[in-house]
Symmetry: C2
Subunit: 142 residues, 2 copies
DNA sequence: TATTGTTATACTCTATAACTATA
DNA sequence: TATAGTTATAGAGTATAACAATA
C-alpha cells in the first residue's frame, strides 16, 4: 500500500487522516458495548469535568455547532446520563450536569479509552506520546 | 478551551481528530478554487503515480470501499481528468489513467497542498515533520 | 438588537447488501 | 464459485438559515 500511495504517504495531512481513522476504529470498538458514540463520550467527559457549563460553551469547546449539539444532549438526557438544569439568572440558558448514572458510565468509558491509549503509547516509545500530543495540538490550534 | 476539555486534551485519539480537522480545513481551502475535494485529489495522486492500476487496487490503497469509489471516478471522468481503460486480459477490470488535463490539475493541486504542508512543517520545528510522520504511520498501520 | 436553544434541511461521507458480467 | 464493478440505500456527521424566548 505504501508504495502505491506515492507522494500522499509524505503528507502530514494524509497521514493524520489515516492515523485518526485507525485510532478511532479501535476506540469506537472499545466503547461499542456501552452503546456510546465518541461524540457522546466527549460530551460526558467535558460536562463531568466542568459541570454547570451551558450548552453553547460545551459545544464550542468540542468544536460542535450548537444546532448539532441539541440532538447529542437529547440522547444523553433520554438515557438518563445528563440533564439540562434551568439557570435562574438567565432563563435562556441550560446548565449541563451528569446524573449519578452518567458519572458511572463516564468512568467506565474513560477506563476503556485509557486502555486503548496505553496500547497506542506503547507503539510510540518512551517519550513518543508526549511529543506527539505537543505536535498535534500545535497543528490543531491554528 | 484547553481548560474545559479536561482529560480529552491528553488523549492521542482526540488530539488526532482536532489536528486532522484543522489541517483538512486549511487544505480544503487551498484547492477549493480548483473545485476539487481531497478525496478526488488523493485519487489523482495515486493514479498519477501508478497509472494502470484497477479500481479496486486504488480504492484499497486509499482505504475507500469499492462501492463508494465508483462515484468518485465518475466525477473525475466526467470532468475529463481521468479515464477508465478496458483491460484486454480481463474484461471485468477497468485500468485507471489520467488525461493530460488530469496531469495538469494534479500538478496544480500538488503545488497548493505542498504550500500548506510547508506551513505545517514550519510549525513543527527542524525534525518535527519527519518524527510526526513516522509516529502517525506507526499508528495507522494497525 | 443580540444571544440561547431549537427546528428543519441539505449535503457529504461511509457501510452494507445485492445485482451483472465476467472469470 | 469467485471477482470487478456497479446500484441502491441507510446512517452518521456537519453546515446553514430561520424561529421563539429571553436578555
Amino acid at each position: 500500500m505504501a508504495a502505491t500511495l506515492g507522494s500522499l504517504a509524505g503528507l502530514i495531512g494524509y497521514a493524520l487522516r489515516r492515523a485518526q481513522l485507525a485510532v478511532f476504529d479501535e476506540t469506537i470498538r472499545s466503547v461499542a458495548d456501552l452503546d456510546l458514540r465518541l461524540a457522546q463520550v466527549s460530551v460526558l467527559a467535558v460536562v463531568g469535568h466542568r459541570p454547570g457549563l451551558k450548552q453553547t460553551e460545551v459545544a464550542a469547546a468540542l468544536g460542535i455547532q450548537r444546532a448539532n449539539f441539541v440532538a447529542l444532549i437529547d440522547s444523553l438526557e433520554e438515557r438518563g446520563l445528563a440533564r439540562r438544569a434551568p439557570d435562574p439568572s438567565d432563563r435562556r440558558r441550560h446548565a449541563l450536569h451528569l446524573t449519578a448514572e452518567g458519572e458511572r458510565v463516564l468512568a467506565e468509558a474513560t477506563a476503556r479509552v485509557a486502555a486503548v491509549e496505553a496500547r497506542l503509547a506503547a507503539k510510540l516509545g518512551p517519550h513518543g506520546r508526549e511529543e506527539l500530543l505537543a505536535m498535534l495540538w500545535r497543528l490543531a490550534r491554528d
